[in-house]
């Protein structure tokens, strides 16, 4: 991947660190990635920031074997589409879980991890990943 400038990491840091999305106060819909407009209410909608509980289920997953250089050392890693209990979906790596143990429907919870180091001079990026929500991961 091309070099990512520090401001590009920084401007989304809050959402990435705390799993923040957006919510329309008019209709109650929640969104991730955060949006600036509610597609249902349009001008009548009122968008505010919202923090998700971090609990969800695996909606779909894949095991990435071939990855860009900045993710290479993590291969094979689990990439999943996680359906949050509030409704929206997020794309995230699943950690503390063996590739053969991941399945659709698995309960997961958010955790805070290093995402990647781009190169020696690049920013070290942190953000959310998910792990199995029960205690099974603790024995790993």
């Amino acid at each position: 991947m091309s070099h990512i400038a520090p401001p590009a990491h920084w401007r989304r840091a809050k959402e990435r660190y705390r799993l923040l999305g957006s919510k329309c106060e008019s209709c109650g819909s929640t969104f991730f990635p955060p949006t600036k407009v509610c597609p249902k209410c349009r001008r009548k909608g009122k968008i505010v920031q919202t923090e998700f509980s971090g609990k969800g289920k695996i909606y779909s997953y894949t095991i990435i074997h071939s990855a860009p250089k900045m993710f290479e050392k993590y291969t094979p890693y689990i990439l999943a589409l996680v359906e949050l209990e509030e409704g929206p979906k997020v794309m995230s790596q699943i950690v503390d879980c063996k590739p053969e143990e991941v399945k659709i429907g698995l309960n997961v919870e958010v955790c805070f991890r290093k995402l990647f180091e781009q190169d020696e001079e690049g920013v070290i990026s942190y953000g959310f990943k998910f792990r199995p929500a029960d205690d099974s991961w603790k024995g790993l």
Partner: protein, 393 residues
Amino acid sequence: MIGLYKKRDVAIISAAATKCGEHWDKGIKDLAWEAGVKAVEEAGISGKDIEYLVVGNMSGGMFVGQEHIGALVADFLGLNPIPSLRVEGACASGGIAFFQGYMAVASGLYDIVAVGGVEKMTDVEQEQATTALSGAMDFEWEAYFGATFPGIYALMARRYMYEYGLKKETLAKVAVKNHYHGSMNSLAHFRNKINLEEALSAPMVADPLGKYDCCPISDGAALVILAPLEIARKYTDTPIIVKSSVMASDTLSLLKRRDICTLDATVNAAEKAFKLAHIERSQVNLIEVHDCFTIAEVLAIEDLGFAKKGEGWKMCDEEQTYVGGNLPVNTDGGLKASGHPVGATGVKQIVEIVKQLRGEVERGRQVKGAEVGLAHNVGGSGATAVVTILARG
């Protein structure tokens, strides 16, 4: 808006493509020139007759450090000073170029319009090429978290398997079929046949998608020339009528999709395309679909309306999608075998349908008596789709 489409009937008077593959001896200009010259010669026109040029190109900047592709192609085809536009919609850039060129003729603004597509992808290392391609995703919320392009389609495939009982063997059959068709196509990137066992035992890229589930990185170009139908016979005995060309969009990321097993952009474009063309699915003799990954071919068959959601894989499993089957799909080998020079692909698909409708392809892969064909081009994971329906004049 519908009225605009109907203002004037449009025909394709010539269509040409280069071979796809690793063209070490050809740069982006050489590829565009080769496709352009072939098409101009076939139409028997002079470059001076062309009034407007639209070129599909995804990422000249990242693949070869070259932007300003519209002017570049006009220059190298000797078409200055006509207006020349480069359009970009990731892997659907070629399809969008066609949609733009079609509108220019249909609206009456121009008579003779050239629509090209070109991509030179093999001058950079694979890391750089995949970086360019991953720009078709939502960078901040997908690629940033470790998503790769095969990974995105693998997420769709895994969910589809869970919902509808698709097996890896059926996806492998899609690759085997596309390599079989490609083996007969002199312009294909891969001319080798593969068997089911080879496809299934290939290394994993993004589980459940293995090496043979993924299309290659190719160099290539294609170009077609459009004219109003009323004057098309001046240039060719077999004008191919553009019955409709429709583009639709959807959310950039997979996160916000209504259903990740459906490309709503394809559904919307196809519905409108069939309506405008006054053609039924049962009248279509062959389709070119955007099989960037094998699962995408299965989804396309359903989203274009040729099978119910969740049942398209059965047509692939029962091998109805071969030439000679009920619905031949990707008779040139698809993106999988014929290659995927991203910005050129949408135009290359149209070239294949034109040649099929004229009865001009290699005998083994010719759909006999084909009257109607459809081309389906997708950008990214489905944020853009273009559906074009063509028929013999």
